[in-house]
Symmetry: C2
Subunit: 430 residues, 2 copies
C-alpha cells in the first residue's frame, strides 16, 4: 500500500533539502560557538570555502541555482523546539546543562547570516561575513551541501539498479572495514565525518552500521542531529578556528605568541574532563608544546590532526613525561585522514602506552573510491575556514606544509613567531 | 510518515506467506498442465520431494509447524481474477489464447490437493498424490517454500545491518555477473530460477536487475507471476515429467521405447514455433536422437539439461545436419547449472553455428555462495519429481548418471530399452 498523503507531500517539496536542521552540524561547533558567544561575540569574521582539489571543478558540475536553493533553505532554518530541548536537557560528556540559558536563547532566535556566491575558474567562491558566533555555524552545512550536490551531480544519470548496486557496494565496503575494526581489542572510535560526507542519509546509515557492528567500541558521532536521533553520544571539543581567529586579533608578535594558550585558558575556564583536549598543531606542534604553560599538561588529552600521526603521538608522550605526567592516563585522539590500516597500525603501536581514540571522518562517511568510472565519487579536499577576523587575515600552519593557509607574508611571520622549523610535507587526501 | 493502516495490516498476517499466487510457478508447468489436462487427465501420480544434498538436514533446520503453515497457505490459494485475465488474454510466444477456455475454467476452480509430510533422518518426506494435472502444480511452490524456509532459518539470528550487508553483497555479486554478461554480443538469456530461488523477493529483484542491466538480451522469466508483474515474457516449454509419466504408463518394452516420441507428438499437435523445443535427455540423448522420427528434426530447437553441455550441443548440431536441417536456423537452450563463465564459454563456441539461448536458474536467483560463515546459504540440490504413475515407478536417466532417478531394476530396464551406453558422471551442484 502506498501512503498517498506521503507521496503527495513529498512531491510538494520544491527541492530535496540537504541540511534540514541547524544541529545537523558538528557538536564542537556548538561548544566553540558558546565559548565565542561569551568571549568574543563582536568579532567580525569571514569564512570562505576552499576546494583544495582543483581538478574537481565544482562550478561546472553543480548548478548555481540549485546551490542557492540549498543555501537559502539553510537560511530558512530555525532551531526546532525538540532540538532546543535536547541541547538544554541532554547530558554531554557527563555534564548536564552544557549549554547555558543565555546561549540557548540566542541560538533559538538565530538565523544564519547571508552568503556571497560567485563563480570563478570553474570553482565557487562562497563566503560568509558577520559576527563570529553566527558565521562560524555556516562551515559544516556549507561543506555538507557542496559535497552532497557533487554526489548528486555525479549520480544523476544512474538508473535505478545501478544506484542500488552503487550503494550495495558502498555498504559492503564499509562493512568490510567494520569486520576488520572489530578485531582491534579495546578500540574506541567516533564518527567525525559530517563535513565531507557523501550525503546525510549515507552518514546516518554509516553511524547506524557502526552502532550495530562495533557495539561499545563505537563511542558516538560528531553530528549533533544524528546523535539525537540515534540516541548516542555527541563527540567533539574544539578546533583550529579558535587559535586562528584569536591570533589574527593579536596586536603584536608577543601577543600573537601567547594566543594559543589564551584560547585554551578560556576553554579551561569553561570545561573540564574529557573536553580538555589540546589541539596543538595550529601553528606547529613542537613550538606549541615547548612553550606551553604547565597547567596545560594537566589536560586530559591531545588531538593529532596533521603531520605524521605516529610522530605526533610520540611527541605528545615525550612532552607529558617531561612535564611529569603519566602518559598512560592521557588520551590521544587521532583524527587526520584515517582509514582502517592506519588505525590498526596506530592502535598496535600506542595501545597501552596511552589511551587511544579515533575520530574517523571522510573515509568513514564518503569512501566511494573505486565505485564509479573515473573514480568520479572519490572524496576530495573541501574546507570552509575563517580567512579573516576584524579585517586581518588568519593563518594556519599545522604540521603539514600542504595544509598551511593564509597570505605568504603572514605565514612567514607566524613561522618566525612560533619558531617553526623544517616540516615534512604529507599528501592531503581529504 | 508511517502508513498506520499498512503497518497494522502487516501485523495481522499469521504468517509471512512465501507463495502467494497459483501462478507463482514456472510457465512450462502451466503449458504441460494444459496438455495433461487434455491428454492424460485421469492419471494418478505421486510427486515427491528429494533432497540430493543430504548434508543439509532440512528437518533439523525448518520447523514442521511453519512448513505446514506455508503448505496450508498454498492450499488456500485460488487463481485470482487478474491472474486468470492475464492467462486468458496475454500473448505467449506470439500466440493469443494459449490457454483454452475449458482449461482456464478448470484452473479457476482448482485447489491444490492435500500433501503428506513426515520427518525421516533429518529430512522431510513430502509427497503429493492425486490426479496428474493437479498434483504436478505442487512441484514449484513446494520447492520454493522449502528453499525459502531454509534461507529464513539460516538468517534468523542476523541483525539488521548484517542482513542489509548480506543482501548488499548478493546484489553486488549479481551485478558483477550482469556487467560480464553485457559484454557477450548477441546474448539471449532468460530467468529459470523459480524453483531453487533464495526467496520470492530476491528472484523478483534479480529479474528487475536483469531488465535494467541486460536490456533486450534478457528475454524473460519462467515465473508466470513475475512475468505478469514486470510486464515481460513468460518463458518455458516442457520438462522431463511428460516422458517420465508417459513411460511409466507403458505396458511393454516396445511401447516404452516409443513414449518419448508419443509425448512430443501430442505436443506437436498443440504447439508450433518456439514452443517446439526437444528435451532429449530423459532416457539418454544419444538413443533418443538416433531413433527419432524425421518430423522431430523440423522442430525449432533443443534444450540441453544434463551431461556436458558442449558435447550435447555438438550432438544436436550433428543430428540436425544428418537429418538435412540447417543448424544455424535451430535454437539451442542451455539450462543445466549455468553460471557466467560457462555461458561465456558456450556462447563463444556456439554463437553463429546455432542460435544460442540460456535458461539461467539457481546461480541467478540463489547465488549466496560465500556470503555466510560455513557457506550456510549456498544453494543445494532439491527436486520434486513424479515418482509414480498409476502405481508404477517412474524413471529418469538423463545424460548424467548422478541425476538418474528411480528403482535400480527399472533404471537397468530403461537403460536396456533405450540403448544407453556408458555415461560420463558430472557433479550436480544444483
Amino acid at each position: 500500500m502506498v501512503d498517498i498523503a506521503t507521496r503527495v507531500y513529498n512531491h510538494k517539496w520544491k527541492i530535496d533539502p540537504i541540511v534540514r536542521s541547524l544541529i545537523d552540524t558538528d557538536f564542537y561547533k556548538l561548544l566553540m560557538c558558546q565559548s565565542i558567544f561569551r568571549n568574543k561575540p563582536d568579532t567580525d569574521v569571514t569564512f570562505s570555502l576552499i576546494n583544495r582539489t582543483k581538478s574537481i571543478r565544482l562550478a561546472d558540475m553543480i548548478d548555481e541555482g540549485e546551490l542557492r536553493e540549498q543555501l537559502d533553505h539553510i537560511r530558512g532554518l530555525r532551531l526546532a523546539r525538540g532540538e532546543s530541548t535536547f541541547l538544554r536537557g541532554n547530558t554531554f560528556y557527563g555534564k548536564r546543562q552544557m549549554f547555558r540559558p543565555d546561549f540557548m536563547e540566542w541560538f533559538e532566535n538565530l538565523q544564519l547570516p547571508p552568503y556571497h556566491l560567485e563563480k570563478r575558474d570553474g570553482q565557487y567562491e562562497l563566503t560568509f561575513e558577520g559576527k563570529w558566533p553566527e558565521v562560524m555555524l555556516w562551515e559544516i552545512p556549507a561543506l555538507a551541501v557542496l559535497m552532497e550536490l557533487r554526489s548528486r551531480a555525479v549520480m544523476k544519470d544512474l538508473r535505478k539498479f545501478e544506484l542500488q548496486v552503487l550503494y550495495a557496494r558502498a555498504m559492503t565496503k564499509l562493512w568490510e572495514k567494520v569486520e576488520r575494526l572489530r578485531r582491534i581489542d579495546g578500540l574506541k572510535l567516533a564518527d567525525f565525518g559530517t563535513r565531507r560526507r557523501h550525503s546525510f542519509l549515507w552518514q546516518d546509515w554509516c553511524v547506524q552500521a557502526l552502532i550495530e557492528g562495533l557495539g561499545p567500541a563505537f563511542t558516538g558521532t560528531s553530528n549533533c542531529l544524528i546523535a539525537m536521533h540515534r540516541d548516542i553520544e555527541a563527540i567533539g571539543t574544539n578546533a583550529h578556528e579558535l587559535p586562528m581567529v584569536y591570533a589574527a586579533l593579536a596586536d603584536s608578535d608577543d601577543e600573537l605568541r601567547q594566543t594559543p594558550y589564551r584560547v585554551l585558558a578560556d576553554w579551561h575556564e569553561e570545561h573540564d574532563g574529557n573536553l580538555r583536549i589540546i589541539l596543538p598543531d595550529t601553528f606547529g606542534t613542537a613550538g606549541f608544546l615547548e612553550h606551553a604553560p604547565d597547567w596545560l599538561a594537566g589536560w586530559t588529552g591531545m588531538r593529532i590532526d596533521s603531520g605524521d600521526p605516529a610522530e605526533g603521538a610520540e611527541t605528545a608522550i615525550r612532552w607529558w613525561r617531561d612535564r611529569g605526567e603519566d602518559p598512560q592516563r592521557k588520551l590521544i585522539i587521532f583524527s587526520d585522514g584515517l582509514d582502517v590500516p592506519k588505525m590498526e597500525e596506530l592502535h598496535t603501536r600506542f595501545a597501552g602506552r596511552v589511551k587511544v581514540s579515533f575520530g574517523w571522518g571522510t573515509l568513514l562517511t564518503n569512501d566511494f573510491r573505486g565505485l564509479m568510472p573515473g573514480d568520479a565519487l572519490a572524496p576530495f579536499s573541501l574546507v570552509c575556514k575563517a580567512v579573516a577576523a576584524n579585517g586581518r587575515p588568519t593563518v594556519k600552519l599545522s604540521d603539514n606544509p600542504n595544509k598551511a593557509m593564509g597570505p605568504a607574508d603572514q605565514i612567514d611571520r607566524y613561522k618566525r613567531v612560533f619558531d617553526v622549523g623544517v616540516q615534512k610535507a604529507e599528501a592531503v587526501l581529504v
